[in-house]
Amino acid sequence: MKELFLNVKENTELTKGVIRMKFHSPYLPEFTPGQFINISVGRFDGVLLRRPISVYKHDAAAKTLECVFEIKGKGTTFLSRLKGGDLPATVFLGNGFDKIPETAKKIALVGGGLGCPPLYSVIQKYKYKGVKFYTYLGFGTKSKVICEDDFAKVSEKTVVATDDGSYGEADFITNAFKRDVFNIAPDMILSCGPAPMFKALKALDLKIPTYISTEARMGCGIGACYVCACLTTNGNRRVCADGPVFDIKEVIL
């Protein structure tokens, strides 16, 4: 991990209230897919804490990273307005999806809402190694669908489902995944999204190694303040330092 300044290169709205930002720094450290950054929001309007945001795309050669986030409060509102300039940030944090074996041939990705973008960073790293990806993306409604094209270009199969049926399959994404999983027979399942989706995924009781990227309100982002707890079979673990990625068997949902 490193403390550095990230320069804002791009800022676009993917869909209403969802922002994609591209940052540059000549000093980016090594990146593991699934890791996140903890970025200052300039102490804007009395907000002190940094915002932990997962990484969507990472380009080691161009020394850039991209993040996707939803405008929720004062911190993300501040970020969404930036068109340039530098912000202090600690990068890259957490374990990431670091349990992918060299022998993996087929990986299934199951994302929900804002949990979809960080899964793309896995494809970026492993696609050239010949791993095949099968992508399942769930959203609440059509207007919330993001990043579908990016995944579709590099996945063997990409399925989108919406809870209200306004786009793609009218179902929870875990149900759509359940219908296909035995045909695909992936070596591993990687997932990121809301807790109810993880619960549904766990309930499928697939005998396939499954890792989920969890979320919690954070303080320091580096493992020192013990604020972000994930309840596991080994007690409370730090989402920022022990996670955010945990074995689904370990997490008490």
Binding site: M1, K2, E3, S40, R43, D45, G46, V47, L48, L49, R50, P88, T90, A216, R217, M218, G219, C220, I222, G223, A224, C225, Y226, V227, C228, A229, L231, G235, N236, A241
Partner: protein, 304 residues
Amino acid sequence: MTTNPLAVSICGVDFKNPVIAASGTFSFGFEFSKLFDIDRLGGISVKGLTREKREGNPGPRIAEAYGGVLNSVGLQNPGIDVFIKNMLPYLETKKIKVIANIAGDSEADYCYLADRLNDTSVSIIELNISCPNVKEGGMAFGVTPQSVKKITAAVKKHAKKPLMVKLSPNVADIADNARAAEDGGADAISLINTIKAMAVDVERRRPVLKNVTGGLSGPAIKPIALRMVWEVYNAVKLPIVGMGGIMNASDALEFILCGAAAVQVGTANLIDPLSSGLIADGLKKYVEKNKMNSLGELRGKLLV
């Protein structure tokens, strides 16, 4: 021979500078050492230690206020044995003084912890009787002057190490509690711990913290902390370690003017992980600019 103008001695323990990482924000130093050389600090007050491992409170355990942060971690820590076996050896490789912050559910717990630390490399014991986030013990011991004196005296009988009592701001008169700690045999006083507070989510119509209440820290509480340090400075002879919303060297100097011998930096570590080192640098620049022989010359020199 040149002397170090930032050096400060607190109850016989020599700190190379008065900047100490505050308990609960710096863990055991390991994480921050990945970002900067923590030997730039004078000391570290480690995460509050209990007799057994603790899981802390359910989440969310952090919330925001204007210029402040609320937490309700509830003393999650690996327990005293793991600290001594696994964390302390790491800190022994560093040139910083280690303050062991201890918390318990009973007087016996505190005494046991002091006993366990007697034959270790720890420099000072910080008696945490001011954590607002645990139901049993914690702040309960720090509310009335009588209870402060009683627990201080009890632990003092067991501790071979200097004893620093960390006062709660959630009390009737902080000066009374400081005097009680002094009467009980404390060697130093640190203040303030967090202020019991709430944050509300209007969309969900619920408290942001699962624990409902938490402890407020950060710049929002600095004026209160300064006032309390000043009151305590005027009430007792003991050395004072001041804290509460220190974000930069100027903030630290304000505490020293109000009577603090040293300061602890807490919430700032969460806002900018390099803060504590930068504050130590800033103090050095200040003494150089003002051609001071010792930063201690400033202690309590508030002109009122």
